[in-house]
Amino acid sequence: MNRTTPAGLAGRYLTLCLMLVVMLGPIVWQLLTSLKSRQESVYDGLLPSSPTLENYSRVAESFPLFAYVGNTLVVCALAVVSNCLFASMGGYALSRAGWRGRQVVFTVLVATLMFPFESVMISMFLTVRSMGLADTLVGVWLPGAVSVLNLFIMRAAFLAVPREMEEAAVLDGASEWQRFTRVFLPSAKGALAVVCITSFMGAWDDFLWPLIVLTNSENYTLQLGLKALSGSSLVNDPRLVAAGAIAALLPMMLLFFCLQRYFFKGVGEGSIKT
């Protein structure tokens, strides 16, 4: 290890603090805006002069926040379960089992990443509609049930499992399924957490696709509800929008804090195992 001078250390912390300000700044600004009362100017100053939680209750009143969060959570739960399940099974198949053409399949799958969503959106909508899933949450979830990127992550994680470990398991008489569940999955826990978080985030943040699929506002997801609050040319209340955005952020943050241990492990996975 090289030694750090006090000046170097100070520099590091300064850079870190700067990053913190840059990253957190917009969120803090939103938070402060959401606390401003209706009597004061939204545009002057940063700190609310008479902080109030009124905007949050107004958000809850003016649109069914909890119903929207509920709808979003349904889609998120489906997406997380299906992605973890299919991405790990698919990733396993693509990484280990010695079958012909898996390289071709993998290449084709990765190639589909090249298509921008917008270009396949309409055909996807027509497909989902013909399945009778228009205006349903299942229709929102289905096209994202397993993403290629997640397959990719799981495949990479499985490839990193040493061949010796698998051979040892074979010698011990473990079947393919047992090797998958007892050897491979536990050693790819981190990657699984990444898949879990990214699929949750993807489903949570998605806007355009749910908008296309859903028509009845009772089925709206949170992002659709939030967009209805902001961006109106007839009404513009930054306080309300900020309160809605902060409220929408909380579940994401909770999930991240719960899983961050795995998350950071997952990012570094596949490097060196000790």
Partner: protein
């Protein structure tokens, strides 16, 4: 209003182009039947769907009230209301048009009207309802004609007219008289120059992004946009070059916020914190300021929009289109007529900062009562209504000036305003680009 429209157009333009390209090839299995106009049967019945553009949750009560009253009047009709956020509205319309699931009565703004009408998705309301024309402000009805076709393809709905809003305190500080606001583009620039000289960099006059200002400013300066046969752009004139020169000089002088050239700054934020003299020109904006920046609201003054040589403003209404393939023509027509009638439009104007396109609605005393003349919101309402009565289509952006043309012109203007290109070259190149686009569109 025009400002936000500009930004939205810019971002959605490319996306839509690619959407339509992919939509055009294949997958027409369940496409809309666009042959033949629907005919009335005389029986007002059935279930119709009604889609609005971002009216929930703020106007839920009003819209539901209008629907309920209609259903009471016509017990055989059920109206299913769906409200869609403004962002992604056009994308959803395109997807629905492809799938054949367009609503029977659909709320359209200027660009979504173009989108559906150009593809023949909308019914000719003039044929279905010949007497309707008399009910609307002149110009509003004609806005929904299509070049080269007879017929009118939507009912005009609510309007937000253009007005002039400015911070009277800053105006005075710059040595200008708030009772004598500019009436021509040239004066507007003169005043902006004065403001730049006196402000000491503490505040600016107006936003630099030319997107929302063109071709309006040129029209107001008497620059012809198209030739008489409307098949070529002819705006490359000394007047247009003069406009660019003045914009460039004012930008260099600091009459406009530096970053506002790319439109990345929030005009409400700048005006609301007293760093901008001219606010966006819509009555709705006055309400924003009232709610969000009470101090600046008290300093805000309102005047008729700068109209220059035209003498009147343009008219951009929201509209209600009727899907060509609707199964319940009578119910759809009656409902669209109901929503856009005088009383319902006036009631809407009282709930939101908008104006009726229905001339009987505009006669309501609500639109002529100035109060004691000190409340900006009240004055804005009267000023807006007065201008609306005289609004004319010749002040509108011509339909030939599509998003693509606007973007092409804007690119050249940006360079010239920054001082990278000579104004005369920029205008010439803008006209060439615009004509190229127009030719391509005509050839298709």
């Amino acid at each position: 209003m025009r400002h936000t429209r500009g930004i939205r157009l810019l971002t959605s333009g490319l996306l839509l182009a690619s959407l339509l390209a992919t939509a055009a090839c294949g997958l027409s299995a369940s496409g809309e039947d666009t042959s033949g106009e629907p005919e009335r049967t005389g029986r007002i019945a059935g279930q119709i769907t009604f889609r609005t553009l971002q009216l929930k949750p703020n106007f839920t009560e009003y819209v539901q009230g209008v629907i309920d009253a209609f259903e009471k009047e016509h017990p055989d009709v059920r109206v299913k209301w769906e409200d869609v956020p403004g962002e992604g509205y056009n994308e959803k319309l395109v997807a629905d048009a492809q799938a054949g699931t367009l609503p029977d009565v659909v709320n359209l703004n200027t660009d979504s009207f173009q989108l559906l009408a150009d593809r023949g998705m909308l019914a000719d309301v003039a044929a279905l309802d010949p007497k309707a024309r008399a009910d609307f402000v002149p110009g509003a009805w004609d806005q929904y004609r299509l070049p080269g076709r007879s017929g009118v393809y939507a009912y005009p709905w609510y309007v937000t007219p253009e007005i002039l809003t400015f911070n009277a305190r800053l105006y005075r500080a710059a040595g200008l008289d708030p009772d004598k606001p500019p009436t021509s583009v040239e004066q507007y620039f003169d005043h902006a120059e004065r403001i730049a000289d006196r402000s000491g960099g503490r505040y600016a006059a107006f936003m630099a992004d030319p997107q929302g200002r063109l071709p309006g400013d040129w029209q107001k300066m008497g620059v012809p946009i198209l030739d008489e046969r409307r098949d070529a752009f002819v705006f490359d004139t000394p007047k247009a070059v003069e406009w660019v020169e003045r914009m460039r000089d004012l930008y260099a002088k600091g009459a406009m916020p530096r970053e506002s050239l790319t439109g990345s700054q929030d005009i409400n934020q700048l005006y609301g914190s007293g760093r901008l003299v001219f606010g966006p020109g819509s009555p709705g904006f006055i309400k924003d300021i009232k709610d969000n920046a009470p101090k600046v609201y008290r300093e805000t003054a309102v005047a008729p929009a700068v109209t220059g040589k035209l003498g009147h403003i343009g008219i951009y209404t929201q509209s209600l289109g009727i899907r060509k393939g609707t199964r319940h023509v009578d119910a759809a027509v009656e409902f669209a007529k109901w929503v856009t009638n005088g009383p319902n439009q006036v009631a809407f104007s009282k709930a939101a900062t908008i104006y009726p396109s229905n001339s009987r609605g505009l006669d309501d005393p609500y639109f002529s009562d100035r109060g004691d003349g000190s409340d900006p919101e009240t004055v804005a309402r009267v000023v807006g209504a007065e201008q609306l009565r005289e609004a004319g289509l010749d002040a509108n952006t011509p339909v030939e000036w599509t998003n693509q043309v606007g973007d092409a012109v804007n690119r050249e203007m940006h360079r010239a305003i920054k001082g990278d290109v000579r104004p005369a070259d920029a205008v010439r190149r803008a006209q060439e680009a615009a004509n190229r686009i127009l030719r391509n569109q005509r050839d298709r």
